[in-house]
Symmetry: C2
Subunit: 464 residues, 2 copies
């Protein structure tokens, strides 16, 4: 006690950070703990649902068991219309996030929609495309409603080649479009001739060759690849350089077997120039892992988090196909030279599927370089992210381990009860798009899932 | 003071570990610090050379400056006889480590020598090869005497393809044979038809294609590759999976441009199947970085550490081409199933050039998975290795940083004075060969450079 009173002041500040800032400004050592008491309404809900706690525990064990026993395999690349017949049957276009109509779409999403309309030949130019979209000439639906996911704007149309990940433990499959590389790209709202030309090359040359190579290889099991990637600095959301390079090494002999000449050289150049190539593979994997955990009565495990640039939405295992949405937040991060927060669009994309399976910001401890890239600090800050996310998850992944945490597993299975009780919002590593159509990526940062989504879902459990 | 006396006993034990073991056995918290006082003879030597300490500091700054400003580039692959004309001119064979004659060679080195004699057509079979070597029909010299390095047995003969690393800051070049892959290989003393067949393929197909790809690429700068590899779990001695994969991704378009058909597929398969492919590149790089730091009068910086399975040898910048040798030690490590320390050959190879530039065990903090693989513990033990090696080096590398140490640089520039003063022997991550010819690798571990080498070098500085 005496040492407490005679030494310098050392403070742990819980809750409102203003107190901590004041103390820090006066030179005191302060550790800030983000915490807020659950709202009174939630306390009564948590009390109410505790009456079926045993059922929830059992259901969550089942959900977790399915997530942790997944055997995802990158199996093939096929045309979207072949995998999702509705895309061929009508002018249907899939987008990232929960459902949204044209009128509420943000700038980059509208930009991508218009580009995709021209790409599919439904309009001659971008102006005609915009008129078509605004007049209801195109149907919109979330990727998640059709077994797919897509990064940022996440546009999926009939002729695009999609990656296929098979979850061989459960026999289900999930899809994601190919990563377009860096620079001006449709996922960040790009829609000019360069963007559409690259999409055409992916459709006509790269996609078919990649698919042939994967079939020749008999598929690539992803659990061991993710495990290696985590030991090599990837968190598979903002950093995929290890998994991209490992996948290249595994598949390059099959590319050489199935391709030749200039098209082979160009395909290998494309992967060599894009450290994020694996991101879309990881996303399809995430969807393939979580789909079997959907629809387990009483389970409070989150099975999807996504955003369309306007709304953030989550799905919860025991609550079926229903979306719980709230306005999406702005990422906090670093901007490329010449850009600032004033240019940024709110967070977007289905890529938060990675955090939903415990990668991305949840695995930040594996990827300290990402912490710097997204403006979240250094090595110790990276450890802090993973430790915080472990507070709102139910388990540690047995196969995906993090060396810097003495090989503890990634935090798996977000429980909406823990999110509501602790007030810790899931963190998401993300790219930042310009708010206007056609500009592209302007930065990278960390976004937070809105707590309101989790609170609404909790209320839904308490309702008859 | 009171808290010291009333709390449980907490001990830092310096020196003889027996005290610490006893305390630990009784449940006390003990931190063991390995330390021994310098021998009386060394104390007087250290006092004597302190009279020209200013000259040594200046010389060491010059040596360090050259090491840290190196610009190594993997440039080409060429036939050894073309690079080292003496190999074509006579029956000269290069080996790892300091000079050694046939009579003192260990089992695996003799095995590799005999295999290489057959490979070069100097004898019809292994028995004839042994007779030829034993009768003085082959001349032996260290790789280091001819600008080269080689892993384990390190045999270099005239027809082998050698990697060329150019240090573009100084214009010098260094060479290393190609990595043969895993399993039965000449570097571990293998010498049967499988081993020689693979060497023939490397000579006739793979080497020429690899060289053509490198020339088409204009070379691959290695500083950025090493920096990325350190952020991806490589220490470039026992773990090269990141750099091997990154190099594959960079070069695969050039392989596709210069190769075709089955020989291209086979080349890419070979790299895909060998996580240690990059090791030999890193070794040639190490030699190219250290050679310009050789022969700076008064510099106490180590410019080479190597071993031939019998002797360990070092060279020191200010002491010219002279070797300071001592009997090589046994690595401490883990053995493959079915093998034990009784099967092990003492440590061997030129690969300790990696530790000499601050990689390998010096960069263990970057590669916690290696700590487990070589039996050196977990994540915190890995940090401990790098911290200990920083005690015997002069600087931190400005470009090669380690995320888990908040991006501090790798420890660079071993100073023989610091080794002698602290009694901390350089640690070396190493493969373990079977002591008999032809068996191959039986494990991996950590070896220590014998302190006697550094003490002899220090004595040489004190002599007129």
């Amino acid at each position: 006690m005496r040492s407490l009173l005679t030494g310098p002041v050392r403070v742990v500040n819980i809750g409102l950070p203003a107190f901590a800032r004041e103390l820090a400004a006066n030179g005191a050592a302060v550790a800030q703990v983000d915490w807020a008491p659950p709202r009174a309404e939630l306390v009564s809900v948590l009390a109410k649902i505790s009456s079926f706690e045993a059922k929830m525990e059992k259901a969550n064990r089942e959900a977790l068991g399915r997530i942790l026993s997944a055997e995802p395999v990158l199996a093939d690349v096929r045309r979207a219309g072949e995998l999702i017949p509705e895309l061929d049957a009508s002018r249907l276009m899939l987008h990232a996030g929960p459902p949204i109509e044209w009128a509420r779409m943000c700038g980059p999403l509208r930009g991508a929609v218009c580009g995709a309309i021209v790409f599919e030949g439904w309009a001659a130019d971008l102006a005609a495309a915009e008129a078509l979209a605004a007049s209801g000439g195109v149907r919109f639906a979330p990727n998640h409603h059709h077994g797919a996911v897509g990064p940022m704007t996440g546009i999926t149309t009939r002729s695009m080649p999609l990656l296929i990940v098979e979850n061989r433990a459960f026999g289900n499959r999930a899809w994601c479009a190919l990563n377009e590389g860096l620079g001006k790209v449709m996922r960040f709202g790009g829609n000019d001739a360069e963007v559409l030309g690259r999409l055409a090359w992916l459709r006509d040359e790269f996609g078919p060759l990649f698919g042939a190579a994967l079939r020749a290889a008999g598929g690539v099991p992803l659990n061991p690849l993710i495990a290696r990637g985590l030991a090599m600095g990837d968190e598979m959301h903002q950093r995929n350089v290890a998994c991209t390079s490992l996948l290249t090494r595994i598949l390059s002999p099959y590319f050489a077997e199935k391709g030749n000449g200039n098209s082979l050289v160009k395909a290998l150049q494309f992967i060599a120039g894009n450290d994020q190539f694996f991101l879309n593979v990881a996303m399809a994997m995430g969807k393939s892992i979580l789909d079997p955990a959907q629809d387990i009565a009483h389970s409070t495990v989150v099975t999807a988090m996504c955003r369309n640039g306007t709304d953030f939405g989550i799905r919860v295992s025991g609550l079926g196909a229903r979306w719980f949405t709230a306005p999406v937040e702005m990422p906090q991060g670093l901007y490329f030279p010449g850009f600032s927060a004033a240019d940024a669009n709110p967070d977007m994309g289905d890529s938060a599927i990675l955090e939903t399976i415990g990668l991305g910001a949840f695995a930040m401890a594996a990827a300290p370089a990402v912490a710097g890239f997204v403006g979240a600090g250094g090595f110790n800050d990276a450890l802090g992210y993973t430790r915080a996310m472990a507070e709102i998850t139910l388990a540690r992944h047995p196969k995906w381990t993090i060396p810097a945490l003495e090989f503890a597993g990634t935090p798996a299975g977000i429980d909406i009860r823990r999110v509501a009780e602790t007030g810790i919002a899931p963190a998401i590593n993300t790219g930042i798009a310009h708010r206007k159509a056609g500009v592209g990526q302007v930065g990278a940062g960390v976004a937070r899932a809105p707590l309101a989504c989790f609170e609404q879902a909790l209320l839904a459990f308490a309702q008859p």
